[in-house]
């Protein structure tokens, strides 16, 4: 097993990340990522099982807040930076697919 990435993978990742790449960029990014992954060989070789994962360098559980309303900022302030607003909603081109 050795860390690497194919051109196809890069194209797939671009789609997942909502990025458009032309052929030249695809070529160039693939080369750079292949190189970066080669450099990460030390991690590839490292034996780290069966250590548990670390999500945060912080101890603690159950950090929560009470169910109390905090007054929202005024709508105009929050929507002021939007490129396209209609009827107090954010307007976008047709959003195909359902979430």
């Amino acid at each position: 097993m050795s860390y690497s990435i194919s051109r196809e993978d890069v194209a797939k990742m671009a789609k997942l990340a909502e990025l458009r790449l032309d052929d030249q960029e695809l070529e160039s990014f693939t080369a750079q990522l292949v190189q970066t992954l080669e450099f990460a060989e030390d991690l590839d070789q490292a034996i780290v099982d069966p250590l548990p994962i670390t999500i945060l360098p912080l101890e603690g559980v159950n950090v929560m807040r009470p169910d109390v309303v905090v007054q929202p900022l005024p709508r105009e302030a929050l929507m002021a930076a939007a490129a396209n607003v209609e009827e107090n909603q954010f307007r976008v081109p047709p959003a195909l697919g359902e979430s």
């Binding site: 997942l16 912080l58 107090n88 909603q89 954010f90 976008v92 195909l96 697919g97 979430s99």
Partner: protein, 472 residues
Amino acid sequence: MSDILPGDWEMVIGLEAHVELATKTKLFCGCPNSFGDEPNTNVCPGCLGLPGGLPVVNEAAVQHAMRLGRALHCQVNPSVFARKNYFYPDMSSNYQTSQFDKPTNTEGWLELADGRHVGIERAHIEEDTGKTTHVGGGGRIHEAEYSLVDYNRCGVPLVEIVGKPDLRSAEEARQYVVELRSIILAVGASDAKMEEGSMRVDANVSVRKPGEGFGVRCEIKNLNSLRSLVRAINYEARRQVDVLESGGSLFQETRHWDEEEGRTNSMRSKESAADYRYFPDPDLLPLAPDDDEIAAIDEAMPALPAERREAVRNAGASSEVAALMTEKGVDTLAVAAIDQGAQPERVFTHLEHNVPAEAAEKLSVADFVELINLETSGQLTATQAKAVLAEMIASGNNPAAIAKARGFEAMESDELEALVDEAIASDEAAWEKFKGGDAKVAGVFVGYLMKATKGQADGKAVNALLRQKAGL
């Protein structure tokens, strides 16, 4: 075997329910959790996905989720929030914070009204998305000119309940949803209204022949009522059988139920399997419920529908009657009355037919018991008892007082016998026929009695006296 499907085809259904929790604020911020407000008035840098926003989990949401989990007999686990990554305008950060491999609740079950158990795989906590409205093109996504997004709902706390594929008919699926809803209401987790969207149900449907493993399943969305749920499941199962029987093959997909056309349609959403790249959310710390907390939840658990049905069955009801009593909400009254000696059959009959659900609260157990006893001891006829009950509900007075006021007092047996003798004497010809075995002619004498007593005579007692005197 099913009536809907030809041959020996069997349908297999598993339901996923998303339930909006009844908290005051959203899951990860202090914005109001409120339905129907002006668009984008319940948003903040956090739930709007502004750079620099951070989540902090709502303790009431966690409480609700644990309580709901225990009501579904789940194991409550330490849990970790995970990000589900995908792009869509109604998700302000383009990831949904949910739970993945370490959910709050796992491995539970619920009991249908008919007593069958349905497995619950998990019930986890996640945030809701905003609302996208498609404008132009008749509201259909693919002809829309543009879309508008309102983030008021984005971040509202949800519990997603994943049922195991244990259901075998649309009717069972309907029962499952009804039962699930009454459990949710019992623990106060949500108002769970399908029509309003505070409970959303998706159905996973597949078909198979007996003895086979699970077939390819399709997920059906856009089920806004129980009726749609039943129609859609039946349609989809039949569609799948038709495809397979004509030699075609099915593939796993999400389909949209079209209520008007009465069919499911393939959703032309993004290609193939989405890669959500789940990973533990590094803006949040894990949740670790402790045993004391869970014990407290169990202690404070209200009586759930299954328990209530059992109590009614134990008081002498059949499963159907027990289910009916419980669904109507008159079960507590029934059980209490029977506990105090009231005759079960009369209790159940009156509660089923003569007591509206809302009225049950107003009836005192003692009064209800008294009424039943008056009837079973013969002092009131069935008709009279019904009338007294109606007045008890309307006025709140006790049965004895009402009966007296309406002159429903029991007739002395001498009085009754004297009237019966009078009736016999009034029509000797009819009496000869009756003595000869003509039962129909008894109506003459009963009619006489009713006229003489203005309808107060107890028909049964009269008939008994007639037979006695005739030596029958």
